[in-house]
Amino acid sequence: MAAPADVIPRRPTLLFVVVLALLFVLMSLSTRTRYIGETRTMFERTVMMIFSPVPKLVNWVGGAASDMYHGYLDMRRSVAENNELHRKVADLATENLKLRQSETDLRRLRSLLGYSEEFAMQTSMAEAIMLDTSSRFKSIILDRGSNAGVDVNDAVVNANGLIGRVVLTTKDMSKVQLVIDSNSSVGALVERTRRQGVIRGDGGTGAQLYDVPSLADVQAGDTVLTAGIDGIYPKGIPIGTVTKAEKGQELFKLIRIKPAVDFSTVEEVIIIHTRKIPNAIVRYAP
């Protein structure tokens, strides 16, 4: 026999009431266990255990995504830092190059300054702005001229030795004939034996020492200095080194000299304002 229609809905309602009562008891138990120090009932632990894979999975996925995101951010930051460091390295390399150049310049100028102080005569500094050592006539152009007190026949040296003499001046430039020019003549002496002679350029990259007798003691390796007897170059400036000394065709030796100065690298020079011999004396000179 079927139940009356108005009775049927009461059964779920009864179930509802029973369920609520059970849940209320569960809550009361839960509240009580909290008071006695337990944080979870067995029933609660069971539910957690059943569904725990979900939060774990979410946590794992979230952690992985977070790691990837932060990894990506770190990578971008690293790339930016790398670029910045590359730029800094380039800047520092450039700065380092400049400092090295400055250090080299400073060292060279210091040695030049110390060298110029050795001369009793007045000196001034100049810079080579043009260099012509390729043709037969060897010369350089300096950036100082008569306005700076440069005069014809002033000696030009650097820290290594003799360069040449001024042969032409304008107000702000001067031309220097190098000792390796074939028209150049310099009174010289061999440092070891004090034997004197005359150095002339050979038109190439070297020079020769003339007027040295065949019997004179001159050997390869001897240092040749200015003799100070030509009225142009002060005494004692290194000119070069003997590379070859052999018997010549007549009474004199054939002596080849390697200049002390590498003319292709000349930059700053010292101009020695030598004391000029009065014309009256020059006129009666031999």
Partner: protein
Amino acid sequence: MRWLRFVIGLLIALTLHSLLDSFFPNALAFFNPYVILVVYYSMGGNILGAIIAGVIAGLVQDAFSGAIFGLHAFSLTVCAYAVAYVNSRLVLRGTLAFGACLGGAVVVNELVIYILINVLLKQKIEMFEQGLIVKTIFTLLFGMLVYQLLLLFLREEPIDATQRPTGW
């Protein structure tokens, strides 16, 4: 089929719960995915099924929140019963009807929790009214969005209520 949907929905709600806990710890104060699930299921009009759904969803929510174990189960069971009871007598269908049931369920759920906490713990919930309004609005918006998405992707009425309970 409806139970399968319920289980999937429960897993999604728990996932959402875990995600929000991880990244926005206070987000569940403004939004309750379990209520949406229970209301969706209860709108089928099956009171027995609704009660079971409410108990299960509530216990899961309790297990993974700091509340007294059984608190949300109690409140969600009340909501589920109410919604199922109404739907067993009135055929409420469509997004607006779902929204109305959901809004009512959120309010009932919060009121039940408020009363139980007062009774059991003798505690007062701070800013209850403001929290209730915000939670109702956000849960309603999200729930109706979910309902629309289900309508769109399932291409059928999401709530299967062709069979009214005649007894159990």
